[in-house]
């Protein structure tokens, strides 16, 4: 299979692309990325992803020579050359080589495309179980490549019989490692955490949907105490749109999928793509 990526300033075969063993990304874990879904040949919400990508880069002082337009062109070229049916695009900025092994000198861009399953036509009816874990991501507003805790916790998560992890910081809910979290109160208000987490693009689109369709919502501090009284809960990501949550730790949620708010929002999200 000829799968192309962009690395070392060239479109090249992914099997021939490598990050130097001396790179700050390899030696010091210093890098950022963004990930977007591609439907046929359409990179979804690419402007939003590029906004966030450049914001992450700025915060982390990772300046690359490629312009926004050039990155869009690289993405378009990969989509055309790889010709996947459904896929994901990962844009990475690596810290680059450093003479002293420590100072940011030559950050560089890597763009990878890989096949991805198409989200289901309608909201999945099988929910997942989350296990809560007290952990605050460092530099949480930045999409860094730091998933040390997420990967390390996979074994623990499986022991809990859970499908994903819900991070909270001393009881204040943050996010899942690769998704944002939403809760519907018994009063019918959709709530998502406000601070110290990554601002997901799907989260942003859901807030837009709530505004357009007059769904009561609040972006505020959300505590794990509130999970007990949730009418509904779900997680959101660019890859899956929405996945319903049927259990958090020992708390069972039994939303009526037919009538759920998640199902309505899922349809609206689909129409936005």
């Amino acid at each position: 299979m000829s799968e192309y990526c962009y690395a070392n300033k060239q479109i090249r075969l992914i099997s021939e692309a490598g990050v130097p063993v001396t790179d700050l990304l390899v030696q010091r874990g210093y890098g950022i990325f963004d990930f977007l879904r591609v439907a046929k040949d359409k990179p979804l919400f690419i402007e939003d992803h590029l906004d966030r990508f450049f914001h992450s880069a700025e915060v982390m002082r990772l300046t690359i020579p490629e312009t926004r337009e050039e990155i869009k062109q690289i993405v378009a070229t990969l989509i055309q050359k790889n010709n996947f049916d459904y896929s994901g695009i990962r844009m990475i900025i690596a810290g680059g080589d450093a003479a002293d092994g420590y100072t940011i000198e030559h950050p560089h861009l890597i763009v990878i495309q890989a096949p991805l399953a198409e989200p289901t036509e309608e909201l999945p009816t099988t929910g997942i179980k989350l296990a809560t874990y007290s952990y605050q991501r460092q530099l949480p507003a930045v999409k860094t490549t730091d998933y040390l805790m997420a990967i390390w916790l996979q074994a623990w998560m499986k022991e809990q019989g859970a499908d994903d992890i819900l991070y909270h910081n001393n009881g204040s809910i943050r996010e899942c490692p690769r998704s944002n979290f939403f809760l519907l109160t018994q009063e019918g208000v959709l709530v998502t955490a406000k601070e110290q987490m990554l601002n997901g693009i799907t989260r942003k689109n859901i807030i837009k949907i709530c505004e357009t369709h007059h769904i009561p919502f609040e972006v505020r501090e959300l505590t794990i105490e509130e999970l007990k009284n949730a009418k509904e809960a779900f997680i959101t990501s660019s890859t899956k749109r929405i996945i319903p949550v049927h259990q958090i730790d020992a708390i069972l949620l039994q939303p009526q999928y037919e009538d759920s708010i998640a199902r309505k929002i899922y349809d609206w999200l689909k129409k936005m793509e």
Copy 2:
């Protein structure tokens, strides 16, 4: 210059070694390492470093096929082939490729050697300035490749006119990003932090020296409040042995280098090599 490393199960030119862009180390920052100094052809305290390396690997569930003896052989081969006068060896275990981009499946070993300045004959007489910063490393007992905060803080550190950063967690001193921290009280007791930091090999050797030479020492919680009354302070690492500290934030320390405990320990450390 022909500089050799070990990657993809072979001794190869470092310029030809790369970590796949799909590797968990690249995409998710999942990896551990250890770093040791080589004096001529002697890898210093390699057994201690290997002990820590395998401990890090075990905690992080990074199993590699190479045995301890094989790694020692790889290190010996690199030392012989590279023939550097004075150097450092970096052993890395990368998370490896993962079908789902998330699950540890194929961790692999990388060993790099690079020239390094020889530590000075005697303790350096010019001390450095530290700036304190509240930050707790994640998985602190493990030497992960996560230096996100350390690298990110370099710009802030320079603004403070500091040479290195001293991490504390709500006032409880931990470590510097690449060194351990020691303080000498006015009563002549050498103190170093006990928990939630990396157990340095030089720190371990200094504790041994204190035991052998009957220097009063304590391994306990150490607070930033205590910095004000310090008689002496220094940082320790495999690369530099000891660097004296002359200032921490606004606190000036004026140890008599001729008569300092650091100077004596430095000489003993040298003899241990």
